[in-house]
Amino acid sequence: MTAKTKRFARRAALLAAPLAFAAGPAFAGQIAQKCGKDGHYVVAFSQANYAEPYRQHVNNDLIALAKEIPQFELQIADGAGNDNTQTSQVDNFITQQVDLLLISPFEAAPLTPAVARAVKAGIPVIELDRKTVGTPGKDYTAFVGGDNYKIAYEAGTYTAKTLLPDGGEVAVLEGLPSSTPAVERLNGFKDGVKTNAKIKVVAEQAADWLPDKAETAFSAILQAHPDIGVVYASNDMMAAGSYLAAKGAGKETQVKVIGTDGLPGPAGGIQAVASGQWAATFTYPTGAPEALDLAKKILLECAASVPDTVTVSTLAITKDNAKDLDKKLKF
């Protein structure tokens, strides 16, 4: 774009401004109100709750990646697992007129009005991991997240093909009953193992995502079903609990443990697989790189449209890649 055409474009935009204003904030064919390669942009992230290992992992990922984009200034607010707190934080971000809002809503319906206010104020909104009510691309700009069902389905087929090709007994530890991710992961895994008719799911217990409950539950399961070959835990923390239970029963070589989330660090699944304690874990991706890519498109490249849903795929962490990954994450 030459200087002349730029000036023309600006004048045209000025003339069109009143019209565009009536039509809504997304004017002049771009999503952001202010954009361009040379600007400085505040990217705000409203996180549902810091006090969960997975959410910490998301924060760390975003912070590390945002540092590599000099135009971006990342601000994170802790919703503290409270809809009112998170709503007031979104309201404050609107007051600050941040350039883009990333949000992982604590609960869907309660955060919907706050997201609507941000959209009305002309702020592009990217939802991360959890959605509010409405349609991405219409009620907010885009959704970036993993597919719980697919991730657990892959864990199921991995069990069916690689861990127990000749069949055997399997136990499943579910997250908090009736919560969406718990239900999706349970169904995904069960459908995945169905691909091998010789596998039987002999036990299904809820352990509310917690390692101590998982240890208690799996100890009891092992008493009732001493021949279990695989335990699928719907998150890494419950997988850690199941491993302790298997070890307590002296069956840590017989029982193969599968986790979900693939968290880094000493308590996470990647090291547990690298050290040979677990058979595998399936990452639930943070979506941070994908979300920041969208943010770049919107703010730096003045995109007129972006994909409204970005599903991030899982990575199976097994003994083949765990050690390399673990080293890479330690830098």
Binding site: D78, N82, T87, Q96, A109, S178
Partner: protein
């Protein structure tokens, strides 16, 4: 420590020595400590406010609206809590009662198809009755309010889980079964050109009423008298038992209103909602200069204490300062408020 129902040791010095309050300058500061604290926070807010296009963000009308909206629910609860604490009581059940009220409101409208008015009346009556029952049990059996309302907290959460069937209830608006009347969504909107949140208006209106009730009515005087010296109050013919039951009915009422505001703001009813709100409300009351030993306190102090906590959280976030500092600051303010009170209390006691 608190809530000595029934008997008070006659030898105990009466905490309400009003004439002393007038003479002691420190007591005057304590009396208005939260107003002073609020002013300090406001000045700090103005000094540290980010500036955008020549305007202070902190003082922007929508920012002030945001502050008041954010504290509306805990603020409403704190109003009721002030009455209870002035009688030397405590109510730990209010956060859970908010959750129960939000679930009840959502369930009556969405699951049973009730209209707005019957729903509001039923929820408010249920909350008031719940509070009154706790007041009755505490008074009748001379139990510490701490214990009775701790039990009440569990009961309210349990009832909320029963009403909601162990799930949360989304409120969507429209006609017919499964929908709430659209007018209920007013609670989540903003009036006057999309600036003034209705939730904040409810808080402001109740704050005015609560101030008037405490300061100008006979009931308000009774509340001070019961908390100051129960024996003297009884001897002078004040219906102590009824006053005690009434203040718990009042906190139940306020919790129910806050629960309705919550359901309307967030289109949601959940048994987990309002968890920990009782502690925020107690903090606001204590910062407001109301004594946990009863007999002394002001409603304006509670209101200032609530707004102060909200303004503090707001200015810290506008400057992108993390939540840890906010908790540390709140803790320090509570300790400071309590220390000031204790010092003044001791001085009064020695006179």
């Amino acid at each position: 420590m608190m809530g000595e129902t029934g008997t008070t040791i006659p030898a105990a010095p009466a905490p309400t020595v009003r004439p002393a309050v007038r003479r002691d300058p420190l007591a005057l500061i304590v009396r208005f400590q939260s107003v002073i604290g609020l002013l300090l926070v406001l000045v700090g807010g103005i000094v540290f406010s980010p500036v955008r296009r020549g305007h202070l963000l902190f003082l922007a009308p929508d920012n002030i609206a945001n502050i008041v909206r954010a504290i509306s629910e805990t603020g409403i609860i704190a109003l009721g809590m002030t009455f209870v604490i002035i009688t030397a009581g405590i109510d730990l059940s209010v956060g859970a009662a908010l959750g129960l009220a939000s679930v009840l409101a959502a369930s009556l409208m969405v699951n049973l198809g009730w209209g707005i008015l019957p729903t509001l009346v039923a929820v408010v009556l249920a909350g008031t009755a719940f509070g009154a029952a706790q007041g009755y049990i505490s008074t009748r059996f001379r139990l510490e309010a701490f214990i009775v309302t701790l039990a009440g907290l569990q009961v309210a959460r349990g009832l909320a889980l029963v009403v909601s069937g162990n799930a949360y209830i989304n409120i969507s608006y429209g006609d017919g079964p499964g929908f709430a009347p659209p007018a209920f969504s007013v609670l989540g909107t903003r009036l006057f050109g999309n600036t003034v949140p209705v939730a904040a208006l409810v808080f402001v209106a109740l704050a005015v009423v609560a101030t008037l009730v405490l300061n100008t009515t006979r009931f308000g005087r009774y509340v001070f008298a019961v908390g100051g010296n129960e024996r003297a109050a009884r001897l002078s013919g004040i219906p102590v038992g009824r006053v005690r039951i009434s203040v718990y009915a009042l906190t139940g009422f306020m919790a129910a209103v806050a629960g309705i505001v919550h359901a309307g703001q967030f289109n949601f009813g959940s048994a987990n909602d309002g968890a920990g709100y009782e502690l925020t409300a107690i903090a606001a009351v204590v910062i407001g200069g109301t004594s946990l030993f009863g007999g002394a306190g002001t409603m304006i102090g509670t209101i200032a204490g609530s707004v102060m906590l909200g303004a503090l959280a707001n200015i810290l976030q506008l400057n992108n300062i993390n939540a840890a500092l906010q908790l540390l600051a709140t803790g320090a303010i509570i300790v400071l408020a309590a220390v000031l009170q204790a010092v003044v209390g001791r001085r009064e006691g020695t006179r």
